[in-house]
């Protein structure tokens, strides 16, 4: 597609469940970022991939959060044992190398009941 695609757009789950959020970046973009945004706050960095490897995962809040990008394109953010505090919009962005701008998807809104 022309832009960054994120699925699902909305996800409602119960506390303790496992959730996967998918990001399909712009074709050819080597860098992929995950952010989390709570209401009224700026996006909070979670993890950054360069190709298949996580170049920086310092923003992942704890070991319940994990992300993969096995073929250097699509990425999946995985959240285990969800908690109510995980409720937020999860944003994915991609970019080329160099001074390329970040292109964001529309986000996946996660609600943990």
């Amino acid at each position: 597609g022309a832009g960054v695609s994120q699925t699902p757009s909305n996800k409602v789950t119960e506390k303790g469940k496992y959730v996967e959020l998918r990001c399909d970046p712009i074709s050819g973009h080597t860098a992929l970022y995950w952010y989390r945004q709570s209401l009224g706050q700026g996006p909070e960095f979670l993890i950054y991939f360069q190709g298949t490897g996580a170049a920086d995962d310092s923003g992942l809040p704890n070991d319940r959060f994990f992300a993969v990008r096995p073929e250097g394109s699509v990425s999946t953010l995985k959240i285990q044992r969800t908690e109510r505090g995980d409720s937020a919009v999860y944003l994915c962005a991609s970019r080329t190398g160099g001074t390329g701008e970040l292109f964001f998807g529309e986000g996946s809104r996660l609600t943990v009941l």
Binding site: F45, Q50, D56, G59, L91, G97, G98, L102, F104
Partner: protein, 110 residues
Amino acid sequence: LAKTTQPISMDSYEGQEVNITCSHNNIATNDYITWYQQFPSQGPRFIIQGYKTKVTNEVASLFIPADRKSSTLSLPRVSLSDTAVYYCLVGDSYGQNFVFGPGTRLSVLP
């Protein structure tokens, strides 16, 4: 990573020029300055990027003084549709965890 400081909110009226200033006192030599715009229920969208002096595109201008410790985003003749949150980011060209601050919430009034 260079940290940025912006006003939390600003109000303006339609047709006015709006200037939003961002402070980044510990900007590094390789860092670029990038501004993003975010509407409710959407991801941020790139507005403009610069390294020094002045950059202009079809929607905005970016002014960066010689010391690069601050930058000013200028939106000419704003309209109601410019109501959004504006973020200033600082980072180098080879990818890192670009850090978003709380941004500046611009409200354009009729």
